[in-house]
Symmetry: C2
Subunit: 343 residues, 2 copies
C-alpha cells in the first residue's frame, strides 16, 4: 500500500547482515538455484515481510528491459463489447503479473498511431490492438519491427500476426439461415463501408447462406459510412418501403449499427417483427429491454480477452519464435422475438 517506495533490497540486506545480491536472489525464489543457506533464506524472507518490502518496478524494468506492462488499444470503450473485452483483458493480465495501460482510438487511425506511440514510450512489453480502418500500414510497420502484438476482433489477412477473432463467416451464415428457416426471403444485410476483414467476412457468411438457399437474387447489402450512418440509414430505410415488404428482415452486422438501426426503425414507426424482422450483434441491455427483445449474435468476449492475453504473454516469455496463429472463436445465436415470424 505504498506509492512512495521506501524499503529497498539494501535496507533488508543491512538489517539481516548480508549482501543485497543475496536478498535479491532469495526474494526472487532462486535461493536453492543459487545455493543460498537455509538460515539466510529464512531471515531474509522474514525481514522482507516485516518491512513490507515492495520491489521498485522502475529499477527492475531498467535492469531487465521489461516493464510487465501491456498496451491495449480499443476502438471505442463506450461500446459495451469493448468495455467488457477490456475488463477481461485487464483481469487476465493481472493474473499473470502484467498491468494494462489502454486508450481508445475512436476508430481513427491517427488516434491509433498517437496511442501506439504513447504506449511504446511507456515501454510496454507487448500490445493488444483492435485495429481500425486504414491502420494496416501502421500495423505492418510494427510487425516488421518484430514487436509483440496480437490483434483482437479484427485482423489483416496480409499481415502475419497473432490474432483472436470471431468466426465471422459462420456467425452471419448462421444468422441468415435462422432467418430463412423462419420463412423470411427478402433479407437485407447492414454493414459499415469498410475494408476491414471482419466486415467482408460477415458479408460473406450472409452471401453463402443466401446462395445455398438459391436466393442470390435477393442479396441486398447496405453499406453505411462510419461517420454519418444515422441519417443515411434513415433515408435508405424510408426509400426501401419496408412496410410494403420490400424488406422482410434486416441483419445488422455490428453492435453500433444495431443500436442505430433501432433508433431509425423506431423513428419511422416500423414494427418489429411484424413489418420487419431484426437480428443484431453483441447484445447489451438495449437488446433485452427493447420491445420486442432483439435477437443477436453473442461473441465469447471473455474467452477472446483471455486468449489474447495468454498468447501474447506466451510469445513474450518463450524464447523460441512463436508459431503465428489466428484463433477463430465460435459465435452463439441468442434468439428473441425480433427475429421470429409471427403468424
Amino acid at each position: 500500500m505504498a506509492f512512495k517506495k521506501k524499503v529497498s533490497l539494501k535496507d533488508i540486506a543491512q538489517a539481516v547482515g548480508v549482501s543485497s545480491a543475496l536478498v535479491s536472489m532469495v526474494l526472487n525464489g532462486k535461493a536453492k538455484q543459487y545455493g543460498i543457506g537455509e538460515e539466510a533464506t529464512r531471515k531474509v524472507l522474514a525481514k522482507a515481510k516485516e518491512l513490507n518490502y515492495q520491489p521498485n518496478i522502475m529499477a527492475r524494468g531498467l535492469r531487465s528491459g521489461k516493464s510487465h506492462l501491456l498496451g491495449l488499444v480499443v476502438a471505442d470503450i463506450s461500446n459495451p463489447f469493448f468495455a467488457i473485452l477490456a475488463r477481461e483483458i485487464e483481469r487476465a493480465a493481472s493474473e499473470k503479473g502484467y498491468t494494462v495501460i489502454y486508450g481508445s482510438s475512436d476508430e481513427k487511425p491517427e488516434h491509433l498511431s498517437t496511442l501506439m506511440n504513447t504506449l511504446a514510450n511507456q515501454g510496454v512489453d507487448g500490445i493488444i490492438v483492435i485495429p481500425c480502418e486504414n491502420s494496416e500500414e501502421l500495423i505492418a510497420d510494427l510487425y516488421l519491427q518484430k514487436y509483440a502484438m496480437v490483434l483482437v476482433d479484427r485482423y489483416f489477412p496480409d499481415i502475419n500476426t497473432l490474432s483472436v477473432s470471431l468466426d465471422n463467416v459462420k456467425a452471419c451464415k448462421d444468422v441468415t439461415q435462422h432467418l430463412l428457416s423462419q420463412g423470411f426471403r427478402k433479407i437485407s444485410f447492414v454493414a459499415y463501408e469498410s475494408k476491414l476483414l471482419h466486415t467482408t467476412e460477415r458479408i460473406r457468411g450472409y452471401h453463402e447462406a443466401m446462395q445455398e438457399a438459391g436466393l442470390e437474387n435477393n442479396i441486398h447489402v447496405l453499406k453505411f459510412p462510419q461517420d454519418k450512418y444515422h441519417e443515411m440509414m434513415l433515408q435508405v430505410f424510408e426509400e426501401n418501403k419496408i412496410n410494403n415488404k420490400n424488406i422482410e428482415a434486416i441483419i445488422f452486422s455490428t453492435n453500433s449499427l444495431t443500436v442505430q438501426g433501432l433508433y431509425v426503425l423506431n423513428q419511422l414507426k416500423i414494427r418489429i417483427p411484424e413489418d420487419v424482422a431484426v437480428f443484431g450483434f453483441d447484445g447489451g441491455d438495449v437488446f433485452d429491454l427493447y420491445s420486442p427483445a432483439i435477437s443477436y449474435v453473442r461473441q465469447p468476449v471473455e474467452e477472446m480477452g483471455r486468449k489474447a492475453v495468454t498468447i501474447l504473454i506466451d510469445q513474450l516469455e518463450s524464447d523460441e519464435p512463436q508459431v503465428i496463429r489466428r484463433y477463430k472463436l465460435k459465435p452463439e445465436l441468442v434468439i428473441a422475438e425480433s427475429s421470429v415470424k409471427k403468424q
Copy 2:
C-alpha cells in the same frame, strides 16, 4: 514507434561529440538555464530527431522517483457511465503527459484493495478512485499516508480528500420537483442499500422536495442490496400493487437500478407512464430506445473526468500543500415521455 528502446543519450552524445549530461540538459529544454552553447544545442537537437530518440521511461522514473503513471480504479467498467468517465480521464491525462492504468473493483472492497496494491506496485504517482461501499478504511489509510488521490462520483465526508462529484442533493430534488409539477404525488425512490454518501445525498434531495411540498407522509424509499436486487425489486413492485396507483412515479437513483427497474416493470407488464412514471439516472441507449423514452439525470461526465485529472496533477506538481476541495458539479435533467403525465 519503438517498444525496444535503442537510442540512448549516450548514442547521441557520441555521435555529436559531447557528454551525455549535456544532451540530457538540451533535450529537457534546460539549455539556456545551464548555459549551453548555441552550436552544441543545435547539433544535439538535430541528432536526436535524426535518430528518433525516445527517453527510457524506466531510467527516468528510477532517477526521478516519478512514473508519470496515474492509477484509476473504476467501480464497473461495463456501466456506460464509468466507461465514458474512464475514457475522458485517459484523454485528459494523456494531454498532460500522463498515462493511465486502470482496473475494475466490481464494487468489492477486496478487489479495490488488491487493485490499489497493484497500482502502488506499479509506482503510480497518484490515483483516481471511485470508492465502493466499505472502502472507507482503506481510503483513510491512504489518506493518512499522504498519497495523492482524488475520489470521483462518491466521497467520504470524514476523510478530507480531493473529490469531484455530482451535486446529488440538487439532482434528486430537481427530479422530485419535476415529478410533482407533473401532478404525481405518490412518488417512490429506489436506491441501493448503501452507506455511501452519494446514496444518502440523493435520498436527501428527494426528502427535501417532498417535505417542502408538504408530502412527508408520502415519502417512500425502497432500498435494495447490491447483489440480488433484481429479484427483490420484482417482489416489491408486485406487492406494491402499482396498477392500483399505490405508486404513481418511481425515481431510480443509479444507472444500474434504472436498467434493472425497466427489466422488472417490463416483466410485470406495467406500463410507463400510464401505470407509473419513471425517472432514471445517467442515460444510455436503453433510455432513448425504450418505449417510451426514459427521462434521466445527466451528469457532466466529461467535466468530471477532466476535473479529476486536473486537480490530481496540480497536486502532484505543485510544491505547496494543495487546498483540499470538494468539487460539486451541476446535474441536468433530460425529460422524455416516461415522466410526463398523460391526460
